[in-house]
Each structure stands twice: as structure tokens, then as C-alpha cells.
């Protein structure tokens, strides 16, 4: 057994204190916005210049100027604010964002993260990822435990170009919750039925 995507999302939500500010990376982390229970007050920031993202707009309330960093249309909640990119990254780089939750390709035992580039593959750019991992109070990486080639993504040393050095606090995969400790990864929790051997930790 392992955790489904929804179970991973719910696990993360349960770890985040009420009232926190959170930035969600493109991909799996954006699912978090859709599963926050109504009694949990989180302020979701999107680095293109909004704090207080809610969810999706109703069809007749779509605005081309109201988008998230994934360039998707969004709705906002009461108490939201808009700002320019420098102030937005001031929130991020200045240490004001409580949680940054990003996708990952590799995390290693020294808290390094690689998630922005595979040499020889499509060029996309790092966007705000390098700022987010260096500036947020807590960095959580959310990813599948194994790559498509069945390689564990929790590594002794990242082989792909880094996004940040010594930045990752916590990793959630479909197999469990892990914390890099310098030599390997501490197991915080395993998904039901998952064994330590299955995780192939370095």
C-alpha cells in the first residue's frame, strides 16, 4: 500500500498550522488549494502577485487578469491582496512565507533539492523555485518516491542541477514522510503497509 495523491495532500494540510501563509509550486502541490477544509484558514500566495488565492472562478466570473503563477485562472478569498513582483518576492526572500511546497526530481541527505532542469531535456527555466527554497521558513518537497525509471528520488547526492543547497526540511512521497539528516533520511511516518526496505533510503 502507499498513499494516493489526495492522501499526500491531506497529510501536508494536517502538518500546516492554521493561519499560515503558503506558496504552492506548479504541479502536484496545486492540488493542495483544492482540498483545504473550510474550517482551516490558510493564506495562499502566488508569486505573480497575489496573497489569498481561493480556488477556481465560476464560469461567468473569469478574469484574464486574475491568474496564479501557473497562468491558470483563479478566484480569491476575502482578505486577499495584490502587489508587484518585487513585493511578492520580498515576501518570499524576506522570510515572511511560512511554507513553500514544491515538486521535486531529487532530494539528497544534505537537504539539497533538484527540480528545475534535466540536461538535454526541454528547457523551462527555474521561475521562482530558487527564491522559494532559500527564502521560505519551511520547505516541503512533494514527489513520487521513485522516478519513471524506478530510481529512488531520495538520494545520497543529487545528480541533476540543483535548485537550492541545504534548503529542504521535509519530503513527502507516496511511501511516507522523510527528513534529510546529513547521512540518510529520518523516517517520520510510513504509509500503511509500507516497509523501510521498500523505501530504498541511501
Amino acid at each position: 500500500m502507499s498513499w494516493s495523491k489526495d492522501e499526500m495532500v491531506d497529510k501536508i494540510i494536517s502538518l500546516i498550522e492554521d493561519g499560515s501563509s503558503v506558496n504552492l509550486g506548479i504541479g502536484m502541490p496545486t492540488l493542495i488549494a483544492e482540498r483545504i477544509p473550510s474550517d482551516k484558514n490558510l493564506m495562499i500566495q502566488s508569486e505573480n502577485g497575489v496573497l489569498g488565492v481561493e480556488g477556481r472562478p465560476k464560469k461567468d466570473e473569469v478574469s484574464p487578469t486574475l491568474i496564479n503563477a501557473g497562468k491558470e485562472t483563479i478566484s480569491i478569498k476575502k482578505g486577499a491582496s495584490f502587489f508587484n513582483s518585487a513585493l511578492s518576492f520580498g515576501m518570499i526572500r524576506g522570510g515572511h512565507i511560512d511554507y513553500s511546497i514544491l515538486g521535486g526530481m531529487e532530494v539528497d541527505v544534505e537537504k539539497n533539492l533538484a527540480n528545475w532542469m534535466v540536461p538535454g531535456k526541454k528547457i523551462t527555466g527555474m521561475g521562482g523555485a530558487m527564491d522559494l527554497v532559500n527564502g521560505s521558513k519551511k520547505v516541503i518537497v512533494m514527489m513520487t518516491h521513485f522516478s519513471k525509471k524506478a530510481q529512488p528520488k531520495l538520494a545520497k547526492k543529487c545528480s541533476l542541477p540543483l535548485t537550492g543547497c541545504n534548503v529542504v526540511d521535509l519530503v513527502i512521497t507516496d511511501l511516507g514522510l522523510f527528513k534529510p539528516n546529513g547521512n540518510s533520511f529520518d523516517i517520520i511516518e510510513l504509509a500503511p503497509g509500507v516497509t523501510e526496505q521498500q523505501c530504498k533510503l541511501p
Partner: protein, 241 residues
């Protein structure tokens, strides 16, 4: 130059259209262009650039357009020699030019990108940031250790900034809707000449002083734009996730 008369144009900043407002923009210049993806891009100014006989531009813009839209229009005309940007996903034309060595691209972390533009506008000659330390971004940059190792980053200046706002008054005070402002206020401060195109040109006083997002001192030229597409890249609604 096609300009309005003094009564309508007390600060001599109003131009009749994009072409008139971009006079003086020449080959080899550095141009900043506002917008995040296609949100808030200066559509009319970009269209005017496609018709100008210019090349070897250095362009500073977060995305350099997307799938045939925005700055991709001048990219495919081979008018851009060098680009500074943070994210180029969903831009196959740019990727092709990078792989063919037809363009030089400096990928800059988005916060460093915004801060380098802001620094230019603020008169800051350089700043240290931990962003990018230990990555390819650190290549050839000075490192200084504060609480953590940091990179020295330098300002990004431009000859022209082309930006779009929802409203401007006749002094160039600007107001932006929702997330449309992104990099535009920073670029307005960082360029020698800032050209703001607007959906609505209003009278002095129509934008309340406390609602001004960019004070008019940072805007040199203004024109009323037209035919805005305001493209949505990914339309997601409650009904259609």
C-alpha cells in the same frame, strides 16, 4: 510627432498610438517588457515592434511570450539577440532558437530578476542574495558569506520599458487590475524611457492619489491602446477543473 494639444496634454506625455510613442527605439537597444505569461503584456507596443525595422535587441521580460503570442512575435522575426527571463516553459519558438544558438538567454531566478530591475530603478548598484548559491546561477559570481553564502547580483537597466496598465491619467499615474501589474511598476522605474499603453486614459484626479500604483514621475510616454486580446493561457473554472 503626433501629439495632442497643450490643453489635453499638460505634461506633454500623450501620444496618439504605439508607433508614435516608440519613436527613438532603435536596433541594439535594451527593452524591458512587462507581464507575467500573457497577463499584463503591452500588446499594442509589441505589435508595433513587429513593424519596425530594428534588430539585435536585448529583451528583459519574465517569459518572452508564449506559443506565438506576446514577445514571440518579434522573437520569430529574429529581432532579439539576447534575452533575460526566468521561465520559458511553453515557448517552443524560444527553445528552438536556444538549441540552434540563434539567441543568447540568461535565465535568472524570478525573485533575483525582479530585484535586479527594482535595484536599477532605486539606484542600488548591487545586492547580495542566497538565491542561486550552489547552482548554475552562481557561475562566475562573487560569493560573500553573511549568515549564509550569498551571490552578488547587479541591476538590470533598459533604454525603453514597454508596459500596459488598465488606467493612466495625463501625468502617467498608473492603476493596474488584479495580478496584471507584476513586473511593470519595477520596469517603469528602471528604464530611461517608459512607454505605458492603457485600456483607459482618464483625467487628472480620476485615479485617487491613494490608488496610484505607479506615480507618473516614472512614466514618460502614454497612449490609449486598442483591440486588447487579454489572452488566458489556462482557463480553469469551478465547472471545468
Amino acid at each position: 510627432m503626433e501629439k495632442m494639444n497643450a490643453v489635453d496634454d499638460p505634461f506633454k506625455k500623450i501620444f496618439s498610438n504605439a508607433k508614435a510613442a516608440l519613436i527613438g527605439l532603435k536596433s541594439n537597444m535594451t527593452i524591458m517588457s512587462g507581464g507575467f505569461g500573457l497577463c499584463g503584456i503591452p500588446e499594442n507596443s509589441i505589435n508595433a515592434l513587429t513593424e519596425m525595422d530594428i534588430n539585435n535587441l536585448t529583451v528583459i521580460s519574465n517569459n518572452i511570450g508564449n506559443s506565438g503570442r506576446g514577445l514571440v512575435k518579434i522573437l520569430v522575426q529574429k529581432k532579439i539577440k539576447k534575452a533575460f527571463c526566468s521561465y520559458v516553459g511553453g515557448n517552443p519558438d524560444l527553445e528552438k532558437q536556444i538549441l540552434n544558438n540563434e539567441i543568447e538567454v540568461e535565465l535568472v531566478p524570478q525573485g533575483t530578476f525582479a530585484e535586479r530591475i527594482r535595484a536599477a530603478g532605486m539606484g542600488i548598484r548591487g545586492f547580495y542574495t542566497p538565491t542561486g548559491y550552489g547552482t548554475v546561477v552562481a557561475d562566475k559570481k562573487e560569493v560573500k558569506v553573511f549568515d549564509r553564502p550569498c551571490l552578488l547580483e547587479l541591476p538590470l537597466h533598459a533604454d525603453f520599458a514597454i508596459i500596459k496598465a488598465q488606467k493612466a491619467d495625463r501625468y502617467g499615474n498608473l492603476w493596474f487590475k488584479e495580478t496584471a501589474r507584476n513586473f511593470s511598476p519595477l520596469m517603469a522605474m528602471a528604464a530611461k524611457v517608459t512607454v505605458a499603453e492603457v485600456e483607459e486614459l482618464v483625467e487628472l484626479g480620476d485615479i485617487a492619489p491613494e490608488d496610484v500604483h505607479v506615480p507618473g514621475i516614472f512614466v514618460q510616454r502614454i497612449y490609449q491602446g486598442c483591440d486588447y486580446q487579454n489572452d488566458i493561457e489556462f482557463l480553469l473554472t469551478e465547472e471545468n477543473q
